[in-house]
Symmetry: C2
Subunit: 247 residues, 2 copies
């Protein structure tokens, strides 16, 4: 009972912090960075942080903790498998759009792509996420995947899930840090320098703190074994694909 | 047997990658950044990345996986508790020296401290590490700590250990990224810009990749339950302090 109270407190925190992250990243880019467009200008770049934080952090984190909600522990796991895969697909879609925003902005402005450590980390994390989604679909939702493959993949899928999430948080932190050094240059572009901690810097740093707090809550929920979905002895979650060969 | 083979392969990888991280960060700063001094110049700053990577990542990571080495599973846990605490103390010492290097460099050059998201993350991670070390000493090595406190703290200590490690890796990634944008400015200081990926950029980005690879190996070793130290039923590891009241 106390354990469930703690779970729901953390889950509420997870939802609130996730929402706050999206609000903060949207407000930062709409207020201080000039808003959004899809026209090759810096307003197109502004979609990048919003879509990456919304997709690869907030939606991803919420999809990851889905099976920890006791509401999903009924005998029929299939609707929750579909929801997990669907939320992850939406997260992947937002991340790909977020990558398109920055590549297209760079190309329009003749800026090279993929040179910074932030970009190396971000592109690898996104590729790992795409591979994880495709492998997850093939192993756990398609009827033709062999049972041995499912059993082998499940712990890898769970572990990689946390790793991809942690790497995406590291990519966000380095990205926000880099962006603030780019845009808060002091005299050269009429802003106060980052080192003077103008309101934008405090706000965007706070976004970074919120992302870390959200990540800690998600990782705490994922790591507590008491909150793992109790699987029946024949491990229905692994052995029953979503689409049966006879369906 | 296969599990132990995998463990030792990963452990060898952990040692090699850790060594490579220290070699890479030292070589980067000695070759491209001009070497080391403790004189308030930028050569003093160069100690910062070297000491943080060596302390808060490599030594910390190696100290964290110590109890996973089967060699340490003998009945007498005390020498390993001392070694774990000693390695962590050295890691903390190196991190504090690394922080002193950057604070002292900033102060000598009238640069504000603690404004970037990297610095917020780094200082919080270091503070958490210090608190974790002190609490660990109080709970697991001193004879006067109540058993209930030890039992309560152990899972928190283990979980926080991984979290502090992950945050320190995120701080390193954002720090390397920030430093490369600072120093590879193109025409203004006679370097090739970061965006042209000169040899220094490729080398320091690779340092970031090595740090991530090291972190993945450490987190994989920590997460595998098969490699956790088998504790006797009366849980000697928790219940026996290092210093007995009658000793």
């Amino acid at each position: 009972m106390r354990s469930m109270l703690l779970f729901y407190t953390l889950y509420l925190l997870c939802l609130s912090l996730g929402l706050l992250c999206v609000v903060f990243v949207s407000y930062w880019n709409s207020t201080w960075r000039g808003g959004f467009a899809w026209d090759g200008t810096r307003l197109q770049f502004n979609w990048h942080p919003v879509l990456m934080v919304a997709g690869l952090v907030v939606l991803y984190g919420n999809a990851a903790v889905l099976y920890r909600i006791p509401l999903t522990w009924g005998q029929n796991k299939k609707p929750w498998k579909l929801l997990h895969a669907g939320m992850m697909f939406l997260a992947l879609l937002l991340s790909i759009l977020g990558l398109c925003a920055v590549f297209s902005f760079h190309n329009a402005n003749k800026t090279p792509n993929l040179y910074s450590l932030h970009s190396w980390l971000g592109i690898c994390t996104s590729a790992m996420f795409a591979a994880q989604w495709v492998l997850g679909l093939a192993a756990f939702l398609l009827p033709c995947s062999p049972m041995a493959f499912r059993r082998l993949l499940k712990p890898v899928h769970v572990w990689m899930g946390s790793i991809i999430f942690s790497l995406s948080v590291a990519a966000c932190i380095s990205g926000i840090n880099e962006k603030l050094f780019f845009v808060l240059k002091g005299n050269t572009n009429g802003t106060q320098p980052y080192s003077m901690l103008p309101p934008e810097a405090v706000f965007a740093n706070s976004l970074g703190v919120l992302i870390i707090a959200f990540a800690l809550v998600v990782l705490q929920i994922l790591s507590n074994q008491k909150w793992q979905r109790p699987e029946p002895e024949h491990d229905e979650g692994i052995s029953q694909p979503l689409l049966r060969e006879d369906s």
